[in-house]
């Protein structure tokens, strides 16, 4: 329990250091979602596979780059915990990509339907 509380606080402190960027991203995401929500013919379900595909692609691209962003290399992956963490961080980037790609993809599907 303590470790979860600690991790939440670490995430909170990191977010405090990045708040202008996070705020800008949240506003942009809100605008995208609102636009897609109000747009007639947006196909959320049909847009999901493409958004997930974008997420997987971003995850696949991010994974080998993440060590370098942290002054490390893939050769420094010592055991499974390292790989699990690398994949978890990459999955985080992928999830953000899905969040942004989904409204865009759903609107695109709606346009294609017309």
């Amino acid at each position: 329990m303590y470790e979860i509380w600690l991790m939440l606080n670490i995430v909170w402190e990191i977010a405090l250091g990045l708040w202008p960027l996070l705020l800008a991203a949240a506003v942009l995401w809100g605008i995208l979602m609102l636009t897609a929500w109000r747009r007639a013919g947006t196909r959320w379900r049909a847009g999901l596979p493409l958004a997930l595909g974008v997420g997987v692609l971003v995850m696949a691209v991010a994974a080998p780059l993440i060590p370098g962003w942290n002054r490390s290399t893939l050769a420094d992956m010592g055991y499974w915990v390292d790989w699990a963490n690398l994949l978890a961080v990459a999955a985080g980037f992928g999830a953000v990509a899905v969040a942004f790609a989904w409204p865009l993809s759903a609107m695109r599907q709606g346009l294609a339907q017309r």
Binding site: W12, S72, D76, G78, N85
Partner: protein, 444 residues
């Protein structure tokens, strides 16, 4: 519940994790809530905290939440707050120096009285501290959080102001010294040469730092292509390089493979900075000079004079020579003055002069002090937890956690303490400062 005897059994560690994961949404909802769950204790007590490093401010923030009506006075002249665990990263070129510099005022709780002066003396019999400016401050309860004194004066010829010149380095004194150390390391690794790393015989804060500096110097030489023209020797004043045997043995094994020579029972006694010559002395008093191109000086450490010369210091035993604070190692309450507690590096306890020790002990000190204020006994016990993310090269580290007894105590069941690890490196460079800030603010 699983009542089926045929179904697989879940081991206790895994069960704890599953329970913790199940509770995660609840915890997430409370992420910004302050830690204390109990009603604040009403009191008009005056609590003086001597020192505003991590320990002093963390306890101040905790007490502000635990107590209602108390007067808290923080005594420390220092306006800048330094993230000292980051010094090794600055000194080896991983971080810019700005990442270890903050303002103390940004972390103190509201309503606190800040006396911008240093404590020059303690008068525990009269429940008072005296500042360097001559102010006498009476207290009902005292928290000693003064940290250590870097005793460079024990090294004849040493000049802290010369760090960064003539191949002289030391990661310990300040952010500026760490920055100057990196400049000197860059100059040295460009050509290579003879590097001497030192370790004194006294208790150290961040006892892993001398080892990290050695590992990183070797890595920097390798990357600069000058390792072949270089020699690194580690001169330990002790019979080991680290106090936990399994870690000590592991590091020595690694250094043998990496070509880092180690000599024991050799204390740095004197240094001729201009001539780049260091003098080491053996326990028998034999002196030997060593020429160097690069030297990393780790100063002997002791309690500051204000503690050392007071009745708060240990009067006998292994911690008396350094003048360390005489606290009970479990409750961190003073053994002779029950209204006095200690936090952080000043404590005369078997191990643990690290930020990780403060992370685990600050909540305990605040709790035990609040209990004593409420007229009860200090009832929480500290196991001596400490941690050292031991950098082995740029990009990799070992996440070593241990207790008073030197037992390895990984926080997470899957961590292999002696494994070179990207995860441990990521923790060191990305996550431990945010964790430190959360401790400082009294949340974890």
């Amino acid at each position: 519940m699983n009542d089926n005897p045929a179904s697989p059994r879940i081991d206790p560690a895994r069960r704890r994790w599953l329970q913790a994961l199940a509770a995660a949404p609840v915890v997430a909802g409370a992420a910004s809530a302050p830690a204390p769950a109990r009603a604040a204790i009403k009191t008009s007590a005056h609590i003086v905290i001597a020192g505003s490093g991590l320990g002093g401010i963390a306890v101040a923030n905790r007490l502000a939440g635990l107590l209602d009506g108390a007067k808290i006075t923080l005594v420390d002249r220092k306006e800048e707050h330094n993230y000292q665990p980051g010094y090794t990263l600055v000194a080896t070129g991983v971080w810019p120096v700005e990442k270890v510099r903050d303002r103390n005022a940004d972390f103190q709780p509201a309503g606190i009285t800040w006396v911008k002066d240093m404590v020059a003396g303690f008068d525990p019999a009269a429940n008072a501290v005296v500042t360097a400016g001559g102010q006498r401050i009476a207290y009902d309860f005292l928290v000693v959080a003064t940290g250590v004194q870097l005793d460079f004066a024990q090294i004849e010829g040493m000049d802290v102001g010369a760090i960064g010149t003539h191949g002289l380095t030391s990661v310990y004194p300040s952010p500026q010294a760490a920055q100057a150390t990196w400049a000197a390391m860059q100059a040295f690794t460009a050509k290579g040469g003879n590097a001497v790393m030192t370790l004194p015989a006294t208790p150290l804060k961040c006892a892993g730092a001398p080892l990290k500096m050695s590992f990183m110097l070797r890595d920097r030489l390798l990357k600069a292509g000058t390792l072949g023209a270089s020699k690194i020797s580690f001169q330990s004043a002790l019979g080991n390089v680290f106090g936990v045997k399994v870690v000590n043995d592991n590091v020595l094994e690694r250094w043998q493979a990496l070509g880092i020579d180690v000599e024991f029972s050799r204390k740095l006694a004197a240094i001729d900075i201009g001539a780049r010559r260091a003098t080491f002395v053996s326990p028998e008093g034999e002196r030997q000079e060593m020429p160097y191109d690069f030297i990393h000086v780790v100063p002997p450490m002791r309690a500051p004079d204000a503690v050392k010369n007071s009745d708060l210091a240990w009067q006998a035993g292994p911690f008396a020579a350094g003048g360390w604070l005489e606290v009970d190692k479990s409750t961190l309450q003073h053994r002779r003055y029950p209204n006095v507690f200690g936090i952080g590096d000043i404590n005369g306890t078997p191990r643990g002069k690290t930020a990780a020790t403060v992370k685990k002990s600050a909540p305990l000190v605040a709790h035990n002090l609040a209990e004593v204020i409420a007229g009860r006994q200090a009832n929480e016990s500290f196991d001596g937890y400490t941690s050292c993310p031991l950098i082995t090269r740029e990009g990799s580290a070992m996440l070593i956690e241990f207790d008073y007894e030197g037992r390895l105590t990984p926080s997470l069941p899957m961590i292999e303490p002696l494994q070179d690890s990207f995860f441990a490196w990521l923790m060191k460079v990305r996550m431990l400062k945010p964790a430190y800030l959360a401790v400082l603010k009294g949340r974890v």
